[in-house]
């Protein structure tokens, strides 16, 4: 457990992906089975046990500490698991020496047994509910502060150390010098503690078989379309599709060896998310793997991402949630069918198979993503700007641009060059004024690289700036240098890592901010929160007084809300179309 705790401790502070990867590879190559396998399971979210509730942990610590001191400590530290890890009394009570001398040496404590990660995981999976508190307490007694922190984060399922499942698998792949996708391909046939996977990675054993009847296959990804691409690419080689503002999913159905149907839904990174979408799982009445976008469709109309988010945010999937937020899969590719791997076929051939399948299914929950007709790039540009003009109809609001795919492209895992491109709808733009600069993280920790910006609104004393968002990318390294200098030279106030800069009607720096959408937010003073804001241009030339007003954002917000409450809106504007 100590080794695993040290790894988590280090990962939690390390911002760089490559450094995280090296820490993981180092851990996997120096830790024996089965501990490293359970660590991999913990990092990929594949551990099966019932989590310990915060109340249990609190109860344990309250029995052992002075309530006043615990409360002060909790207020100070701000995180329950961390507070408990730090305040947990040592074997001698709440202080090292209570009898006037240095820590007693001759005290005969039974030697405390530091648990291995394997013991922890196996005990949690099997221990009865009534046994659990005593077990956890004994572990906490034996571990040090970092060990206790890691244990508590693990058993309360709050292990957030900035490592994705994909990164952990990439580390295993690196151990064996193979491609991460090779791990991905067999992943769903494996189970903790993954001994055969590590044996394969260390060239001590054969490649594990994937005996999963409904495995995840790494998806094919696209490149953003750059301006210069248009001169290189021939419009006639490509097929156009809408780019949906939803969640990319892979739906897979197969037969287990006992003939039972196995249906799974995977996220883009291979996470099994079937449990969140029982209504969609039900619709997978085929054998094969299809690729598409998860959308909410109400009364035949695709809803915006804001609406989808409301379903995703909910933990419990109740019948009411399913009825209020009906999910659909808008499919655009097929990878396998009836045991046949279709990925080597051309896009055009796969499309035919897909169309036939969708027709056969005849289920409104699984629909084809339409082909966007175009014969020149100019056609496509027009379609992208106004999806309605080429028949997107009611769905136009949920379209964030176009995809173009070579008609002859095979289905290749990862982001192969030259096949698929995305051409996003132009983002929203707003001119805002820089208000605060904050130090960045990692490589940027010596730069003021996170900027909070505001727009004008009417305040009690005339026009004032209200912060509407914060952005930390979109600029070049050279621009970062200039922005950093700007913050340093125009500081009027310091709050820890944050500096307030000079701003007003006739002073301040205007930033052109690009963003993808807006949501109402009670957590922000302005009442709005931006999706993916970034600095698109630095307007060194523009006077701060000419930056945008909050009404500009209100307008965008109202457009979005029409989609969340279509009925409310249509009542005020006449009958629904």
């Amino acid at each position: 457990m100590n080794r695993f705790a040290a790894l988590l401790d280090r990962l939690a502070y390390e911002p760089r992906r490559n450094a995280k990867l090296r820490l993981l590879v180092d851990y996997f190559s120096h830790t024996p089975d089965p501990d490293r396998g359970y660590a991999l399971a913990a990092l990929t979210g594949s551990l099966m046990f019932k989590e310990a509730k915060a109340g249990l942990i609190r109860g344990l610590v309250e029995e052992r500490t002075d309530p006043f001191l615990f409360r002060m400590s909790y207020n100070y530290v701000g995180d329950l698991a961390e507070t408990v890890a730090l305040i947990w009394p040592g074997p001698d009570g709440d202080i090292r020496s209570t009898d006037g001398g240095p820590a007693p040496v001759g005290h005969n404590h039974p030697p405390l047994h530091v648990p291995t990660l394997t013991e922890v995981v196996e005990t949690l999976a099997t221990a009865s509910k009534s046994d659990l508190p005593a077990r956890i307490a004994a572990w906490l007694d034996a571990l040090d502060e970092t060990g206790r922190w890691a244990l508590l984060k693990l058993i309360t399922r709050e292990l957030r150390v900035g490592v994705s499942a994909r990164l952990a698998k990439t580390a295993v792949a690196q151990l064996g010098s193979f491609e991460p996708d090779e791990v991905e391909l067999i992943w769903h046939g494996l189970a903790a503690p993954y001994e055969e996977l590590f044996a394969w990675a260390e060239a001590r054993g054969p490649k594990p078989e994937s005996n999963n009847p409904a495995p995840f296959r790494p998806p094919m990804l696209s490149h953003p379309l750059e301006d210069e691409d248009f001169t290189k690419l021939n419009a006639g080689d490509f097929v156009g599709e809408w780019k949906w503002d939803g969640i990319r999913l892979q739906a897979v159905a197969g037969l287990a060896s006992d003939g039972r149907a196995v249906r799974r839904i995977y996220s883009r990174t291979g996470e099994d998310v079937s449990r969140a979408f029982p209504d969609l799982v039900e619709a997978l009445t085929f054998e094969g793997a299809i690729d598409g976008e998860l959308l909410i469709v109400r009364d035949g109309r695709v809803q915006s991402f804001n609406v989808l988010q409301q379903r995703l945010n909910r933990k419990a999937v109740t019948p009411k949630l399913i009825a209020d937020f009906p999910v659909h899969l808008r499919v655009y590719d097929i990878l396998t069918e009836n045991g046949q791997d279709l990925r080597d076929l051309s896009f055009a051939q796969r499309r035919k198979r897909l169309e036939a399948l969708v027709t056969r299914l005849d289920d409104p929950r699984i629909e084809l993503s339409a082909i966007v007709p175009f014969s020149s790039w100019e056609d496509l540009a027009a379609a992208r700007t106004d999806p309605d003009s080429v028949g997107a109809g009611l769905d136009a609001d949920a379209i964030e641009g176009c995809m173009i795919k070579r008609a002859d492209s095979p289905y290749l895992p990862g982001r192969p060059k030259g096949y698929w491109y995305k051409w996003k709808r132009d983002p929203y733009l707003v001119d805002a004024v820089m208000m605060y600069g904050q130090r960045g993280h990692g490589k940027r920790s010596s730069f003021y690289s996170d900027y909070t910006f505001g727009v004008w609104r009417d305040g009690p004393d005339g026009e004032e700036l209200v912060p509407v968002g914060k952005a930390y990318h979109g600029f070049t390294d050279e621009e970062l240098g200039r922005l950093d200098r700007y913050v340093r030279n125009h500081t009027v106030n310091r709050f820890g890592p944050v500096r307030e800069v000079e701003y007003g009607k006739d002073k301040g720096l205007v930033l052109e901010v690009a963003f993808e959408g807006l949501q109402r937010s009670t957590r922000h003073k302005s009442g709005v929160a931006m999706r993916f804001p970034r600095i698109s241009r630095i307007r060194w030339d523009k006077p701060a007084g000419e930056a945008d007003r909050i009404e500009t954002l209100e307008k965008i917000l109202k457009r979005g809300e029409k989609e969340i409450h279509p009925l409310k809106d249509s009542q005020s504007k006449g009958p629904p179309p």
Partner: protein, 352 residues
């Protein structure tokens, strides 16, 4: 007749004052006669008429403020009674930094110990703390919450060395206070067998030389040259905490930002400072040692000068000890003081 403690020591705007001997201890403003516990800038200030402190503390003050930092100076021998007016004072090692001492004041059978800053953990760069039995114990409470329990320094240094081994191309920059912490980190590295040069920020140089001249073995500690920074991949560099996030640190190859401080025990604090490798190494007592020391002195009365006073006072009361917070302003170790809490930062962190 036994003197009452408040007759021996009172609080003035300048700091703790002994009317029977007419002197202040660690005054925050210039006074006639100052007794100084140790050389940190919040305790040792310049401009007093006369200063009484250990030989090392006097030398440290001269290095920091110049030879004429006080009208006159006198070196206090350790563990010897010195008569001042109607009281007897005595300097005893406090284990905090080189030269640090507790000051015991005795009059009419009552003894008060002003501990200054102190720690009980071992430190190869200074004399260890010695318990002085007393009636009134005056303590700091910088880390006076039970969440502060400093780990074994060897494990912390090992974390640093492990990282250097795993990332041999990256510069490891360790932020550490210029007096005491920096030299302790270097000495701990040497104890673990690290024998390569340890590079110094210019601001560390004179005090480090002083430690060496006092017989603390720190090995090869070259100053980082202005043009050299880019070539120090794999090296360990020690700098003042404020330089960690400054332009100065940008020139090193892919630097790992490390910080040696007791504050690093709390994750949110380490993250707030952008630290990537926190090293929990403190020159102050942790909670267990604050409580343990209070009991060991046998004092029936405890005054708490600065830090987390409320928690420590509460603990004393649960032990049947009389305790009061002094709420003294102006103390907090050269940046080891609390940073002001900023609601703006808190709001940003909770925002999506």
């Amino acid at each position: 007749m036994a003197r009452r403690s408040t007759e021996i020591l009172t609080q003035t705007p300048q700091g703790l004052y002994c009317p029977l001997g007419d002197f202040h201890i660690d005054p925050v403003r210039p006074v006639d006669r100052a007794l100084i516990t140790h050389g940190h800038s919040d305790h040792a200030r310049s401009g007093h008429r006369s200063v009484l402190a250990t030989r090392e503390t006097v030398l440290i003050m001269a290095i920091r403020y110049g030879e004429d930092f006080a009208g006159s100076t006198q070196a206090a021998p350790l563990r010897e009674d010195i008569r001042i007016g109607e009281v007897t004072v005595r300097f005893t090692p406090a284990g905090h930094v080189l030269g640090s001492a507790q000051i015991a004041i005795e009059a009419g059978g009552t003894r008060i110990v002003v501990s200054g800053d102190y720690k009980r953990a071992s430190d190869p760069t200074c004399l260890p703390y010695e318990v002085v039995p007393c009636d009134v114990f005056i303590t700091e409470a910088t880390f006076g919450l039970p969440v502060f329990r400093h780990p074994d320094t060897r494990d912390e240094v090992k974390k640093l060395l492990d990282s250097v081994a795993l990332f041999p191309e990256r510069a490891h920059i360790v932020g550490a206070y210029a007096l005491g912490k920096a030299q302790r980190v270097m000495a701990l590295l040497r104890e673990e067998g690290y024998d390569r040069p340890i590079y110094l920020h210019g601001a560390m140089e004179r005090l480090t030389e002083f430690y060496k001249s006092e017989g603390v073995p720190l090995g090869d500690t070259p100053k980082v040259g202005a043009t050299e920074r880019g070539s120090l991949g794999g090296a360990i560099i020690v700098c003042p905490p404020s330089s960690l996030q400054d332009l100065w640190s940008r020139r090193f190859p892919d630097p790992v930002s490390c910080f040696a401080s007791g504050w690093m025990r709390v994750r949110a604090r380490a993250r707030q400072k952008g630290v990537e490798l926190p090293l929990v190494i403190s020159d102050h007592s942790d909670w267990d040692d604050l409580c343990g020391t209070i009991l060991e002195t046998g004092a029936g009365e405890v005054w708490v000068t600065h830090g987390q006073e409320d928690a420590l006072v509460h603990w004393c009361e649960t032990r049947g000890l009389q305790a009061r917070p002094l709420h003294m302003l102006g103390y907090g170790d050269e940046g080891e003081a609390e940073e002001p809490f900023t609601p703006w930062v808190a709001m940003e962190q909770s925002a999506p």
